[in-house]
């Protein structure tokens, strides 16, 4: 793989792309809450939000206005500064991680003839960077729970620590086998690797399943939503939050869901390569959308696990499987 040459990487271009990512992803993250409520409602044969605007589409705006105008309460004994910056950590790390994942194929702007690679920065350690950023997102819930002087928050942040730290291991190990096959840490190389051959999920089905499971745990989605599970710990790390600070946690969570979807699409599902007559940008949009839908589908179908089952699953099942997968991949590469 030759190093990808990016002809028109200028400061202006990068800034425009960063602003676009911020605007589009936060809009999609807000829209994701609407989609989630609708899909869950349909799966339970309900209607979901439908009174605000056509099909309830403006519910999103109504929720946004509500979140912005709500009183921002900081508890008396909370550590004010940490309490205030914790939501920012979650949202910021989620968006920073999106800076290094490619979403669309590069394209040329027709009139001015400028080639635009659709990635804010194609760093050659993209996978590491994104995983590291999502791992740094751990500090959001952790500090939030510990700063609010609330026992439910403390339990929530304890669960954050065990869950995120444990599943980081599985994410890393499950991505290691595809990295060995591709021989690069850049997402663009992952995509180019799958241009001619099959999708990587054909060669690495176990890694794909492990990555999905670990990704759900890292984005705090339902089978593993122990951080803020209402029936047990009120609301976990967001118990004392209100208004837009609470909203930032959720924008971060939904942005992370999209990131997991993009990584799964680019690394395992063929990325933004054309498929027959279907153009690449449509392919990857479909893959990301299905990945998002699958998260909601799983939420509607499966109950969540206990914390001890979570740890059992991570350390006794997924982690050994990931290691075995890496070893077998290595042996096959060496022999074949």
């Amino acid at each position: 793989m030759d190093a990808t040459i990016l002809p028109e990487v200028t400061a202006v271009g990068v800034i425009i792309k960063a602003i676009l990512i911020l605007a589009v992803i936060s809009a999609i993250a807000g829209f994701g809450t609407y989609i989630e409520r609708k899909v869950l409602a349909f799966m339970q044969r309900r209607l979901g939000p439908q009174h605000v605007g056509p099909y309830g589409l403006l519910q999103l705006a109504a929720d946004g206005i509500k979140l912005f105008t709500k009183e921002d309460i900081i508890p008396q004994h909370a550590n004010r500064i940490i309490f205030m910056i914790a939501p920012v950590i979650t949202a910021a790390t989620a968006f920073i991680a999106l800076g290094a994942v490619p979403v669309f194929p590069g394209f040329t702007i027709p009139l001015v003839d400028v080639f635009v690679p659709s990635i804010a920065s194609d760093i050659n350690v993209g996978v590491l960077f994104v995983l590291g950023m999502m791992a740094a997102g751990l500090y959001g819930p952790l500090l939030a729970g510990m700063a609010q002087s609330n026992k439910w928050g403390i339990i929530g942040s304890a669960r954050t620590a065990i869950q995120f730290l444990s599943y980081e291991v599985v994410t890393g190990l499950s991505l290691l086998a595809p990295i060995m096959l591709v021989g690069s840490l850049s997402f663009v190389d992952f995509n180019n690797y799958q241009t001619d051959g099959y999708w990587l999920v054909v060669y690495q089905p176990v890694a794909f399943v492990l990555f999905l499971i670990a990704g759900y745990a890292e984005t705090n989605r339902t089978p593993f939503d122990l951080l803020e599970h209402e029936a047990e710990i009120v609301s976990g790390y967001v118990t004392e939050y209100s208004g837009m600070r609470w909203g930032m946690f959720f924008i971060g969570e939904y942005a992370n869901m999209i990131t997991i979807g993009v990584i799964a699409s680019v690394v395992f599902l063929g990325g933004y390569n054309d498929c027959g007559i279907i153009p690449g940008w449509l392919m990857i949009l479909g893959k990301i959308a299905f990945s998002f839908f699958f998260m909601l589908w799983v939420r509607a179908a499966w109950p969540h696990v206990r914390p001890d089952q979570l740890m059992w699953l991570c350390w006794k099942v997924l982690m050994p499987l990931a290691v075995i997968n890496v070893v077998i991949t290595g042996i096959v590469m060496m022999v074949g």
Partner: protein
């Protein structure tokens, strides 16, 4: 299936169907085998299929559960005891009440108040009739005792109001004279609700 199976109260002699509960695994190897079999049985996908099936049912086959209440209302049973209605005679349009006072007598909540007098034809007319809905317990005795089927329970079950009085005067309960052709007779005890056929379901004992 006959009833005799249920009439047998001697515990232990009935032919119960036992659930297929396997004993908990005894050794580590058994636990491992259990994990393997549960992993590859694909039961998780059964759950996924069930939710997807319900979504298809709801979206495309018109099996959405929701009744959008203020816009749509489910039909209520004719035996439902809501705010009372005073009916009219269909031929003359005169109210049916003959002022016998039985409903006032039988009312166990003492909420019916009526006053009668003789009109110019020496016929008894109701000069005053109110039901205090703050006291009414909707027992239905008044409707049951009425010899003329004049007072019945209607279908107005949304009884939130700024004033109690807006329901309880004789004129409010009386069928409006221009809607006489829409007046519903009480269908009698044992009448079934209009959507009774739709509500028949198989008892969920299949599992």
């Amino acid at each position: 299936m006959g009833l005799e199976k249920f009439k047998n109260r001697n515990v232990g002699t009935q032919n119960y169907v036992k659930l297929d509960l396997t004993p908990p695994p005894k050794s580590g190897w058994c636990a491992f085998k259990q994990v393997l079999s549960r992993t590859f049985k694909g039961e998780l996908f059964v759950g996924l299929w069930v939710t997807l099936r319900e979504m298809i049912n709801a979206l495309f086959l018109g099996k959405m559960h929701t009744t959008q209440y203020p816009l749509q209302k489910l039909p209520i049973s004719p035996r439902y005891r809501a705010i009372h209605d005073m009916l009219r005679l269909l031929e003359s349009g005169h109210y049916r009440c003959i002022g016998c006072g039985l409903c006032e007598k039988i009312c166990i909540a003492n909420c019916i108040t009526m006053d009668t007098r003789y009109d110019e034809n020496q016929r008894k007319e109701v000069s005053e009739y109110t039901i205090n809905f703050g006291r009414c317990i909707f027992c239905g005795y008044c409707a049951e005792v009425c010899p003329e089927l004049a007072i019945v329970h209607g279908g107005r079950y949304e009884t939130a109001s700024e004033q109690r009085a807006s329901f309880s005067l004789f004129e409010d309960m009386l069928t409006p004279i221009d809607k006489l052709n829409l007046q519903q007779e009480y269908q009698g005890f044992g009448a079934i609700s209009p959507n009774a056929d739709d509500n028949i379901k198989k008892t969920p004992l299949a599992y």
